[in-house]
Amino acid sequence: MKQRLLIVEPSEVIVEGLKSILEGQVRFKVLDPELDPDRYMERIVANRPDIVLINPTLVDHVAKLRDENPVALVALVYQYVERETLKNFDAVVDIRDSRAVIIETLAQASPGESESGKSNYELTKRETAVLVQLAQGKTNKEIADALNVSVHTVISHRKNITRKTGIKSVAGLTVYAMLNNLIDEISLL
């Protein structure tokens, strides 16, 4: 299975360079790169990449991002970045690395097939949080406000929840949430 790779990088020169190195590779499927640093969270939720190659200075909350999305995070470095910051990443690609080293680094960082297969159908923490709010009768807007994300992100989460569970209606998802003990009985009124 090809690893889905999302590049988040505002510099088109760097993005195009990375694309030309990676596009002939059978191991990766390069998704449309995200040039807008403010939109990377939405893209991760919507496109479910296996690997995210991102400039570490763009990531505000690595722990939060990891909690919610089962991805390998690879730092894309072209300036000095503190060692402390890089600790939170699965691997580091320096743009001065050779073609072979870049490909090898990304391949090593990518999650194994069994692991990604498993996480594919389990709800992430964030999806569970959205589900609980849905079951309590909240609207997309209310959920977005409560979880501090955009409505667009909430909709992407909902799509993923439905894809994983096979359940479309809010009423059906409420039953699912109760059967899985995700909401206590009192909170549902």
Binding site: T165, G166, I167, K168, S169, A171, G172, T174, V175, Y176, M178, L179, N180, E185, L188
Partner: protein, 233 residues
């Protein structure tokens, strides 16, 4: 394709043996069991059912990619269509849904407490939606068709609204199916679950065909009648 469709010379029993699920259609089409070894044409004639209409419905139910042409629809006696659709509604509401509900009730008992209540009320709400959906068709759409068929220029309803408002009544059934066979806790007896899974699958298939008949046969027919009577969409 055409050669695979049924013809009126075939024995009705051969048709049923080859496609047992068609058995549930017979009563709705006005044919009682006990038809012996008579041909489809003979049984239809005795029961006062138009043979080509009978075959049209059977073909739609059996062959998933069969979409009857407008010529086929207009060349078929459709007086039986609305009575058939009404009988189907009653079959779903009076027979199939209560049957499923009995199984789900038993499962809800085993779940117990608030979870049991939420579980069964999910189905009850669905049942209510289906009944409302059918009632709308019986009150608004079917009388319009009957009027058009008798040559009246009835403008109380226009079929253009139909597709626009025709809501999906199978979706929640699929949700229910997923819940029932994937997510019920082990304290729930498997026998009940298996029974209800088959019932839900059958009903879901049947409802899909029912929707198909309404959208691909009833709608083109009514559009034609409206145009013929000079009613503008």
């Amino acid at each position: 394709m055409k050669s695979r469709l049924f013809s009126s010379d075939s024995r009705l029993s051969d048709l049923i043996t080859a496609h047992p699920s068609l058995l549930t259609l017979l009563t709705r089409l006005g044919i009682s069991l006990g038809f012996g070894d008579r041909s489809i044409a003979d049984v239809c004639e005795e029961s006062g059912v138009d043979t080509s209409f009978f075959l049209l419905i059977c073909n739609v139910y059996t062959f998933n990619n069969y979409i009857p042409s407008t010529a086929t629809i207009l060349g078929t006696d459709m007086t039986g269509l609305v009575p058939y659709l009404e009988k189907s509604h009653r079959y779903y509401v009076d027979k199939r849904l209560p049957h499923i509900e009995r199984h789900l009730d038993a499962i809800a008992q085993q779940l117990g407490g608030r979870i049991g209540k939420v579980f069964i009320s999910f189905f009850q709400e669905y049942k209510q939606e289906v009944e409302t959906h059918f009632l709308h068709e019986e009150r608004e759409v079917f009388p319009h068709i009957a009027a058009l068929m008798s040559g009246k220029r009835d403008t109380s309803y226009k079929i253009g609204e139909f597709l626009h408002n025709h809501s999906d009544i199978e979706g929640k059934l699929d949700d229910l199916l997923n819940i029932v066979f994937k997510y019920l806790p082990p304290q729930v007896d498997d026998d009940n679950v298996l029974d209800v899974v088959y019932d839900i699958l059958r009903l879901s298939e049947d409802l899909k065909k029912h929707t198909f008949i309404e959208e691909k046969i009833m709608v083109p027919l009514v559009q034609h009648l409206e145009t013929k009577l000079g009613i503008k969409g």
